[in-house]
C-alpha cells in the first residue's frame, strides 16, 4: 500500500506578542498554508494565541541521540559558569 499520509509540520505557538513561539506539536498537511489552518484547529482554539509558525518537519536539522560526544563535557569547565554574580530573571527596560 502506498503511503497516503501527508507530510508533517511542526507547530510553534505564541500566546502574547513579545513572548517566544513555543513548540506545541505537529500536524499533517499537504502544504504550509493548510498546515497553518490545521494548526489553528488543533492548537489555537482553546489556547490564547496571537501567532502560529509551521515548519516542515523534514526541514529541521537535528542532533543525533546516538552520538555520545556532541554534548559531552570531558574537561572540567566549571570556571566558565557565570556563578559569581546573580543574573536577574528578567531585565527591565532602560529608562528613557
Amino acid at each position: 500500500m502506498s503511503d497516503t499520509q501527508w507530510e508533517t509540520y511542526e507547530v510553534f505557538h505564541q500566546s502574547r506578542r513579545g513572548r517566544p513561539h513555543e513548540h506545541v506539536g505537529s500536524v499533517h498537511a499537504p502544504d504550509p498554508e493548510m498546515a497553518l489552518q490545521m494548526a489553528r484547529d488543533q492548537f489555537a482554539r482553546r489556547l490564547d494565541c496571537v501567532s502560529l509558525w509551521v515548519v516542515r518537519s523534514s526541514d529541521i536539522a537535528q542532533t543525533d541521540y546516538q552520538d555520545p560526544n556532541f554534548f559531552s563535557q570531558v574537561f572540567d569547565k566549571s570556571y566558565r559558569d557565570p556563578k559569581a554574580f546573580d543574573a536577574p530573571a528578567r531585565t527591565e527596560p532602560a529608562e528613557s
Binding site: 499533517h28 498537511a29 489552518q37
Partner: protein
C-alpha cells in the same frame, strides 16, 4: 424586542427560522464525521466547524426567541420536521468526504455572500448578527476552499470524486437561493437583497475557485454573469423536504424526546 412597524413580520420570522435551520441541519450532518474523517486533523476541523454552525443556529434562534418567545431548544428539539425551513442541500446524507467538502464550500460561499448583503439591511439585528457570523465564516470558507482546490486539482482519484460531488451538489446548492416565502415583501422593505442577485454573486465566487480546482458544473456565461444550466433542487423553504430530513431530525431529537422538557 419588537419588529419595527413597517417591516413584514411573518416573512422576516420565517427567514430567520430558515437560516437557523440551515445551520442546525448542516451542523448536525458535519458532526457525523466526528471520529470518521479520513484524516485526524480534518476530523477535528470538521467537528469544530460543526460546532460553529450549531453556534450560528443558536444565534438565529436566540434572535427568534427575542421576537417570539419560543426557545432555541423548542425550535431544535420539539418542532415537527415538516416545519423546518432549511434548504434540501443541508439535509442530504454526508456521502463521501468529497461530497461533504464540496457541499460545505458551496454553503460557506453562499453564507459569505448573504451575510455581506445583510450589511445594508433595514433590520438592525440582521446587520449586527451578520458581522459576528462573517468573522467566523471567513475561516470556514478559507478551509473548504483550500480543500476544494487541492482535492479538485489533486490525484486522479481525488479529482474524479470531487467532480462527481460537484455535479451532485451544484443543483442542490441552488436551493440555498430559493426565494423565502413572501420574499418580495422583505426586498421591498429593504430587509434583504433578492435571492436571485445573491445567487449571481455566489456563482461568480464559486466559479473562480472551481476553475482553479479544474472542476466543472453546468453553467453558461451570459453578459459577463453566470447562469445555471440545470434545474435547481427546490422545496425546502416551503417545507417540501426529502425523507433525509425526517430521519435527521428524528436522530437529533431522539434523546430529548425520551423525556421532553427534562433539564440537563
Amino acid at each position: 424586542m419588537n419588529i419595527p412597524s413597517g417591516l413584514p413580520s411573518e416573512p422576516l420570522l420565517g427567514m430567520i427560522v430558515a437560516l437557523g435551520d440551515d445551520e442546525l441541519v448542516l451542523g448536525h450532518r458535519n458532526s457525523e464525521w466526528t471520529g470518521f474523517a479520513p484524516i485526524l486533523e480534518e476530523d477535528i476541523a470538521f467537528s469544530n466547524i460543526a460546532q460553529d454552525e450549531l453556534g450560528h443556529s443558536l444565534a438565529w434562534f436566540s434572535l427568534h426567541e427575542q421576537l417570539t418567545g419560543k426557545t432555541p431548544d423548542w425550535m431544535a428539539f420539539e418542532r415537527n420536521w415538516r416545519d423546518f425551513a432549511c434548504c434540501r442541500l443541508v439535509a442530504y446524507p454526508k456521502g463521501d468526504f468529497a461530497y461533504t467538502v464540496v457541499r460545505q464550500f458551496f454553503f460557506d460561499a453562499a453564507e459569505q455572500v448573504r451575510m455581506k448583503s445583510f450589511a445594508q439591511s433595514s433590520f438592525d439585528p440582521l446587520r449586527q448578527l451578520s458581522v459576528k457570523i462573517l468573522a467566523e465564516e471567513a475561516y470556514h470558507l478559507m478551509h473548504s476552499q483550500g480543500l476544494v482546490e487541492r482535492l479538485g486539482d489533486g490525484t486522479e482519484e481525488s479529482h474524479r470524486r470531487m467532480q462527481a460531488a460537484a455535479e451532485t451538489a451544484f443543483p442542490q446548492s441552488l436551493g440555498l437561493f430559493e426565494d423565502f416565502p413572501a420574499e418580495a415583501d422583505l426586498v421591498k422593505a429593504g430587509v434583504v437583497k433578492p435571492s436571485r442577485e445573491l445567487q449571481e454573486e455566489w456563482l461568480t465566487e464559486i466559479m473562480r475557485v472551481l476553475t482553479r480546482a479544474t472542476l466543472v458544473v453546468p453553467v453558461r456565461k451570459k453578459n459577463g454573469t453566470f447562469e445555471p444550466e440545470c434545474s435547481p433542487d427546490l422545496g425546502g423553504r416551503t417545507g417540501r423536504h426529502t425523507d433525509d430530513l425526517r430521519q435527521l431530525v428524528s436522530d437529533l431529537q431522539h434523546v430529548y424526546q425520551l423525556a421532553p422538557g427534562q433539564p440537563w
